[in-house]
Symmetry: C2
Subunit: 229 residues, 2 copies
């Protein structure tokens, strides 16, 4: 039931601090699935492509998918300066960011023990609007590189007008939790004994990239760039 | 930029009502990506495997992944009766459910126009705790069949003790929105003209099932059931 521990990222000199649960980031249900290794948190965040950003609007939760990027212990988000979901966040209202990787469907002998294998990172906090021009570019670069590694240097950099239309927010990873379910079903012993002819196990789920589809306006003969091979 | 419209589900007799935006479910950013066809909403919900449930705890958003199932215009959720995230929802606090399908990474000529192709359904509302025994089974069946079609009849049904430990919630799909981005990058005309040698396009993202991995306690020779072929 244990996933392979992820080695710290290359270049890390000091040991990473463990995830220290606050009341809000303490995993209550399935506490045995909680992980406290910060490098595992980083690995999940680095493998994901989108997060789900939670904000509160008029007392109700609003959850929207968006892209993100990580630099050390900071998660960067961006959006239109006019986006309602970012306005509250930029004004200091509490937000949360959840990144979920689905690893498999767990087929049990009983429907009660059906489950998913997954890795889920949850970050709570108050975002900091990024105003420093260099940090804004750093954050935007991390966001683009998260979903398209190698793309930042290939494409045209943002101009002044585009930057003015873009809000960049930073969220500290201090208050984070990581929950992981892996391995076979957790069937009751009675079911394992009494239902020997019933198949149970895990159907893995993978996310794969398909064949790149060029934009119709790209002239024929333009090669696929190296970072997309 | 248009996705193929999905035919209404088989057996649908009356035309489905369109999605009627409320102030809360009105898509403000990228309004051109809003869809109002309820059958498209159903198709996205039916294709997904997990949703992100948003609740408000002590004034802050909490967003957690969970499984769900749909029956007509009702979304079912379940969880432990002790789960904090479900307690508030069961008590009538507003919740939201977001289902996001990632279809591709959009590589543009400028980093500003990098994007994701996706389909995202968002449901707002107040959940109804399901107490009727038949509806509870209907909801739980929909949840299991959502991630493991055919599994409900294969596995042992929940017993009285398991049912007593399980909360089932129903969320009406009345206040829903659907946002879709598809197609090639939306580059500026200047970039298309001035950067003819730069590749741009879409890298599709697919979710695929891997080879089923039997639980170590399943005796060798037990065949994979038909619904997993």
């Amino acid at each position: 039931m244990t996933v392979v521990s992820t080695a710290p990222p290359a270049g890390t000199l000091a040991p990473l601090s463990a995830l220290s649960p606050t009341p809000r980031s303490t995993i209550r249900r399935g506490a045995g699935r909680a992980r406290t290794d910060r490098s595992e948190l980083y690995a999940v965040l680095d493998e994901g492509s989108i997060c789900h950003l939670g904000v509160v609007v008029d007392g109700a939760p609003v959850v929207l998918p968006t892209v993100y990027g990580r630099v050390d212990d900071t998660l960067y988000l961006h959006g239109s300066t006019g986006a309602r979901s970012l306005r509250g966040a930029a004004a200091g209202e509490p937000i949360s960011v959840t990144v979920t990787l689905v690893d498999g469907v767990v087929h049990a002998r009983s429907v009660f023990h059906f489950s998913m294998n997954y890795r889920c990172a949850v970050v709570h906090g108050v975002a900091r609007p990024v105003t420093d021009p260099d940090e804004r570019l750093l954050g935007l670069r991390a966001i683009v590189e998260q979903v398209a590694p190698g793309a930042w240097d290939h494409a045209r950099s943002p101009n002044r007008k585009e930057l003015a239309a873009t809000a960049v927010l930073a969220l500290d990873l201090t208050e984070s939790s990581l929950k992981v379910r892996s391995g076979p079903p957790g069937d009751d012993e009675d079911d394992v004994r009494d239902r020997p002819g019933v198949w149970a196990g895990v159907v893995p789920v993978h996310t794969v990239a398909g064949e790149p589809q060029p934009c119709p306006t790209v002239p024929s003969g333009v090669p696929l760039p190296a970072h997309l091979h």
